[in-house]
């Protein structure tokens, strides 16, 4: 057993004896799902003081709206300019960052997808680099996003702050399962873990899908382990309710796609806990959380500057609807300079009584799209993305028409042709024998602002948001 403990430390270097017991409790639980992956937080002792400092900073330096880039951002850019090739291109020598901010060319997903080496600072230490693979489910660009365990760890205090704003203070100790992340996909990785930033508290990523679990075992798992809070996308939360799981966490955090009001109300009514909607992306980390008081989403991190811009990249006045554009961030391998998210909102300078940070209202981001197979069962965009990842492509658009037939437009990458037979086989596994038209389009998205396309669209009648929730 001791050898296993030591081996686990390769993934969790700060694992304690108590943390190891929590890990084993999750890993060996009789009703656990069929774990299929191993992952750790990879944090070392030197990473923890910056997390504590960041926790204080989040509380003490709430973001404030300003019409021009804040001083910290200007200084940060001046420091990075010499090291980031893309910044050197975008900011000529002598460029007046503060005065001419609105004229800086915006960044887009394509810059990350195709030119990541232009973005990673030349002097950044790559020895602890990790890579997040995104499937481009919202804007159609698959991305590999480099990150650092220490900067990912800073997402934890951001989550703590949002929870606290909603009156939730979870127990973070090795005797508690802090969080379960819910999925509802045909294929995904699932694993137990502990987080050093939460004193070796437990974490589990599970999948509410018959391929890896069943409702009765899931019910017992949640009832016995009692996670402090749950995270997941709206589809997974709907599935949690549909499986009839009664366990009530202290909070539910909805991420990845936007949460429909009707589903939110239904979940809140059933589970009687705060349901916090998170606006977050892999490229940027957390951006905003649904305000505890008042409408919209309050900006979360103090080291991100939010602008709303028009199609040409010009800043729009407060209150006007436009694209959310971000600068700054914590990822040492992905500094953001006017990064267009592809999401739209209005920015209100005024905060709420509990948080002075500016708010995003009427957010139109990452709307969930549910497809149906020939048999009528739901197909998650992430499962489609797995099929698409077998091909080298830059962007895609999948449409399911009202008659359930499918049309896939795809922009091949690096001049390589798409293997249509392989794609058809993969899609048939998900959708059955529905008609599928595949169109290779080398110009897809090329003429749209930011190269954005609507990756997933369905003309099927909408699924009732509270389906399965009694």
């Amino acid at each position: 057993m001791h050898a296993e403990f030591e081996a686990r430390k390769a993934r969790n270097p700060l694992l304690t004896e108590a943390g190891w017991r929590m890990f084993r409790l999750l890993h060996d639980h009789a009703d656990a799902p069929r774990w299929n992956y191993q992952v750790g937080d990879r944090l070392i002792a030197a990473d923890l003081p910056p997390v504590a400092a960041y926790r204080r900073r989040i509380a003490e330096q709430r973001p404030r709206w300003s019409p021009e880039p804040p001083e910290w951002l200007v200084r940060w850019l001046e420091q990075l300019r010499a090291q980031v090739p893309l910044f050197r291109q975008r900011l000529p020598l002598g460029f007046n960052i503060r005065r001419d901010w609105g004229y800086i060319e915006t960044m887009q997903r394509e810059d990350i997808a195709l030119r990541i080496e232009q973005l990673v600072p030349q002097d950044a230490d790559l020895s602890r680099l990790i890579v997040y693979e995104t499937n481009g489910t919202s804007t159609g660009h698959a991305l590999d996003v480099p990150n650092h365990p220490a900067s990912v760890a800073l997402n934890h205090p951001l989550l703590e702050f949002a929870l606290a704003q909603h009156g939730v203070r979870p127990e973070f100790s090795a005797q508690h399962l802090a969080c379960v992340n819910l999925g509802a996909e045909a294929r995904t990785v699932i694993f137990p873990n502990v987080f050093a930033v939460w004193n070796n508290a437990g974490f589990a990523k599970v999948n509410l899908h018959e391929a890896s679990w069943d409702a009765e075992r899931a019910k017992r798992f949640f009832a016995q382990l009692q996670p402090e809070f749950l995270t997941g996308d709206p589809i997974a939360f709907a599935e949690y309710a549909r499986w009839g799981i009664d366990y009530r966490p202290k909070a539910m955090i909805s991420t990845a796609t936007s949460l429909a009001d009707a589903l939110k109300q239904a979940l809140q009514a059933r589970y009687a806990c705060p349901l916090i909607d998170f606006y977050s992306t892999t490229e940027t980390g957390p951006i905003a959380y649904s305000s505890a008081e008042g409408e919209g989403f309050s900006q979360l991190p103090p080291d991100l500057w939010i602008e709303i811009v028009d199609e040409a990249g010009a800043p729009l006045p407060p209150g006007e609807m436009g694209e959310i554009c971000l600068s700054g961030g914590r990822n040492p391998y992905l500094p953001l300079l006017r990064y267009r998210t592809g999401d739209f909102a209005r920015l209100l300078p005024q905060g709420t009584p509990g948080d002075p940070a500016p708010r995003l209202v009427d957010l139109q981001a990452r709307r969930p799209v549910l497809f149906r197979s020939l048999s009528g069962s739901p197909v998650h965009p992430l499962d489609i993305a797995y099929v698409l990842r077998t091909q080298l492509w830059l962007q895609h658009e999948l449409l399911q028409r009202a008659d359930a037939s499918l049309r896939l437009r795809i922009r091949p990458g690096l001049g390589r042709p798409i293997d249509q037979d392989a794609l058809r086989a993969g899609m048939a596994q998900l959708f059955g024998a529905l008609p599928l038209e595949i169109i290779e389009d080398s110009q897809l998205g090329a003429h749209r602002p930011g190269g954005k396309v609507i990756a997933y669209r369905s003309e099927l009648p909408e699924i009732p948001p509270a389906e399965g929730i009694s």
Binding site: G94, E105, V131, D144, V152, F195, T255
Partner: protein
């Protein structure tokens, strides 16, 4: 640099006196104020050219935000070239057209245009660069003197040297980055757990 041009001091003074109109924002996709195509057309007409066709004039018009700084530099160059010394020499029409069309773009991508008015070295660089493009040299200077002085101020040449010395290191760095990003451990460590919250 076959011929003597106007005096350096005269052109430097002209640059320091650049009217605000030529420092205003160039019109790009409905943003900005100054129509660069109109300003360039005015200059070419003044030197004795014919009224440019719409297509010729639009070639000067920046189409995207990324062309903003080169467009600002072009506006300043138009002011400089609107000096009587140039305007009275119709034989310069061809070289000036060429200069405006392609001679300043690279420099405009490198250095903020305003520095060519506010910074003494950059001011002198622009004047000498423009004269050199028109095969002229400042009045009173020998060809060698003019060439040496331009070389010592040449931002583009300096940038080429820096880029050349950086190129190998950047290529190696890009290769290393790709390798690190492909490493199995790097991908395993980042399975979605806490990346978005």
């Amino acid at each position: 640099m076959s011929r003597e041009g106007p005096s350096l001091e005269h052109l430097l003074r002209r640059l320091t006196e650049t009217p605000s109109l030529f420092l205003d924002e160039p019109l790009i996709r409905k943003r900005g104020k100054v129509d660069l195509a109109a300003v360039a057309s005015d200059l070419l007409l003044a030197i004795g050219g014919t009224l440019p066709t719409l297509k010729e004039a639009n070639a000067f018009q920046p189409a995207k935000l990324a062309e903003r700084n080169p467009a600002r530099l072009l506006l300043i160059a138009c002011w400089l070239l609107h000096d009587d010394w140039f305007v009275q020499r119709a034989e310069l029409l061809g070289p000036i057209k060429t200069l405006l069309a392609e001679g300043l773009h690279e420099l405009g991508n490198l250095i903020d245009a305003e520095l060519f008015v506010t910074d003494p070295e950059r001011r002198e660089e622009l004047v000498r660069l423009v004269l050199d493009a028109l095969q002229l040299r400042p009045a009173g200077e020998s060809p060698n003197q003019a060439a040496d002085r331009l070389k010592s101020l040449d931002s583009l040449e300096r940038e080429r040297v820096i880029r050349a010395s950086r190129a190998r290191a950047e290529a190696e760095r890009a290769r290393k980055l790709r390798a690190e990003m492909e490493a199995r451990e790097a991908r395993e460590a980042a399975a979605k757990a806490n990346r978005e919250w």
